[in-house]
């Protein structure tokens, strides 16, 4: 009996969930989203690629010519890459919707533009 009373009470209140994807809440501070590379800061040392626990970072070339490929489908959003970069070239963004139907479009490429 009490349960029904409780249910009716809640029915009349606002829902606790929001109607995602029509409504979105801002991610909290310190949220670890998708890592993004600033290639003007990157020296192409390859440390991020080696340190990534899930092999989500590929580095092609060395130094200034280096190209970074980030496979977001493998990424754990652990932030290790950003932590380890000696030059703060990697920032974690706030976005979290990365799922796609095709894995090929889940690769982000970064290159230094001159």
């Amino acid at each position: 009996m009490a349960i029904i009373a409780e249910a009716i009470k809640w029915l009349l209140k606002h829902p606790v969930t929001i109607k995602y994807p029509f409504e979105r809440e801002a991610p909290p501070k310190g949220f670890r989203g998708r890592p993004v590379w600033d290639m003007h800061r990157c020296i192409g040392c390859g440390l991020c690629s080696r340190i990534c626990p899930s092999g989500a970072i590929e580095i092609i070339g060395r130094g200034q010519e280096a190209k970074i490929k980030h496979y977001v489908d493998r990424c754990l959003f652990c932030g290790q890459c950003s932590e380890s970069c000696p030059r703060n070239a990697i920032k974690l963004m706030n976005d979290f919707e990365h799922a796609r139907y095709n894995r090929d479009v889940m690769i982000y490429e970064y290159k230094r533009e001159t």
Binding site: R41, I43, G44, R62
Partner: protein, 513 residues
């Protein structure tokens, strides 16, 4: 195709700095290495694992070592927007004398106690959250310990390997990584300061936590074991009996029993670290504030404020009555001594570099870079003419000025050479700081400029290229060239100094993002 071995800076660091014995264990590379491959232990820089196993490419340790050529001109960007520059002093806003109001601090430091007072106040107001100064190593033996009080209030650098290592590493390795500090004040010798600025110019992420850099003046550092051995063998002085070392022309070693032993510079110089003998920065030219002794005054320090943030922290402390100041103009002898030391250091360094080159001995990359321009720089200097950069409002003196008067002018304007002109403004000669220092302070009131000046002057014309002028400076071993009219060689038009030329070459200001 380069192999990954070539792409690792450590190989160059080892070949050009460590193997020739130029590393003075400042610790900058230890704190900067992203994989912690470098570690100072037992007075050695140890390479703990092969970085090629972790990195594809890395330029860090070589770039930021204070004795390599990398990033030198970039680091000038941190101070170069100061309104004044002078040879031997660097870029600066103002130069003055200061002391801690608290007598306890002055007594502890044997001089003005300014650095400590500044830091204590800045921590109190929250301007900084920590300060990195040098620490002693714990295992220091009793015999060596008293030598720490050799840290001079006056012109001598006695701090050795025992106290040198890891000062920078401690600063950033520990303060940032272990204690999470974010507003750090750094105190160090000119080479430490250069390492910190290089890290900053490299935009290393640990530098986000740096708030202010306070530089000390430094003539040389000694190799402590060598110095103590020498003092014992030659003078029978035990390390434990030494109270302090001062320097005024000679090194004066004061002993606990009240005796003083005087040792000449050339004799003691042999026991300095080899890198120090080629070091040219006396005043920490890249610091926000530089602090040095104020010989012959006992209780004061000479302070050079170079940057806005330096000005801010200093003014705060003055306003809070933590530090009191005096004009340096009131003490021409302090200024004269200070500048003399700076010139002396440069002169010895140049001689040593030349000697080494002649004998085919290794020279640190920084010393080579400071003497040889890159092709791009030569192009720039060849394309610019004297009239583009010369100072036109030249301060001059008359032949009848006394040396005392001249020194007062120098202490006020901080230039070290002045053209001599007659009543009609015609150029007669030049008088420089060197000419003053040849005359004893007590006699300077009675000696006139014309008695000591050179009448043979090296001049150039408004359309001479800067490269031409620079080559003249090197050839004649001088720091300034007077620019005269092509038709009338006694018509003074301007003056150009070596610092003016370096200023042209400095890179645009680069700051952390």
């Amino acid at each position: 195709m380069k192999t990954s071995k070539d792409l690792i800076a450590y190989n160059d660091l080892k070949r050009r700095i460590i193997d020739p014995g130029f590393c003075n264990l400042c610790g900058a590379c230890e704190s900067a290495c992203p994989i912690h491959a470098l570690k100072i232990e037992n007075r050695r820089l140890n390479y703990t694992h092969n970085c090629a196993d972790f990195m594809d490419f890395c330029s860090i340790c070589y770039d930021i070592c204070p004795f390599t050529e990398a990033l030198l001109f970039e680091t000038l960007g941190f101070v170069a927007n100061a309104p004044n520059r002078a040879e031997g002093i660097g870029y600066y806003r103002r130069m003055l004398l200061a002391q801690a109001v608290d007598k306890k601090l002055r007594d502890l430091s044997h001089s003005g106690g300014v650095v400590t007072a500044l830091l204590m106040h800045a921590i109190k107001t929250g301007f900084i959250d920590s300060a990195i100064t040098s620490e002693r190593e714990k295992e220091t033996s009793i015999e060596i310990r008293p030598l720490l009080s050799l840290v001079p209030d006056d012109l001598l650098s006695t701090v050795d390997y025992e106290y040198f290592p890891s000062s920078v590493a401690m600063a950033f390795g520990k303060a940032v990584h272990e204690y999470g500090k974010t507003k750090i004040a750094f105190v160090g010798t000119p080479c430490h300061v250069r390492a910190i600025r290089k890290l900053e110019a490299w935009e290393h992420k640990i530098m986000n936590s740096l708030r202010i850099v306070i530089g000390l003046t430094c003539l040389w550092s000694f190799s402590l074991p060598e110095l103590t051995r020498f003092l014992k063998e030659r003078y029978g002085i035990e390390a434990g009996d030494i109270l302090r070392i001062d320097m005024d022309g000679k090194y004066k070693v004061s002993l606990k029993n009240g005796k003083v032993a005087a040792i000449s510079i050339p004799e003691i110089k042999a026991h300095t670290l080899s890198i120090c003998r080629m070091c040219e920065d006396f005043t920490s030219e890249l610091a926000d504030i530089s602090v040095g002794g104020a010989h012959p005054l006992k209780d004061w320090s000479t302070v050079i404020i170079r940057t806005e943030i330096g000005e801010e922290i200093f003014e705060e402390a003055v306003k809070a009555d933590v530090i009191r100041t005096r004009k340096i103009e009131e003490e021409p002898n302090v200024y004269a001594h200070f500048v003399r030391m700076s010139f002396l250091k440069r002169k010895y360094a140049t001689e040593e570099v030349e000697r080494r080159k002649k004998h085919g001995e290794p020279v640190p990359p920084i010393s080579i870079r400071l003497r040889e321009f890159l092709p791009r720089e030569i192009n720039l200097l060849s394309s610019l003419k004297a009239e583009h950069i010369m100072t036109k409002n030249v301060i001059t003196v008359t032949p009848e000025t006394t040396l005392e008067g001249l020194l007062a002018i120098m202490t006020r304007y901080h230039h070290t050479g002045y053209p001599i002109v007659d009543d009609e403004g015609k150029l007669l000669g030049i008088v420089t700081f060197d000419d003053i220092s040849k005359v004893l302070p007590s006699k300077r009131g009675g000696v006139l400029v014309r008695e000591v000046a050179h009448s043979k002057i090296v001049t150039a014309h408004p359309d001479s290229s800067l490269m031409e002028i620079y080559e003249k400076m090197i050839q004649h071993k001088i720091g300034k060239i007077i620019i005269v009219d092509r038709k009338d060689h006694r018509k003074l038009l301007g003056i150009i100094t070596k610092t003016d030329i370096m200023h042209v070459l400095k890179w645009p200001m680069k700051k952390l993002v």
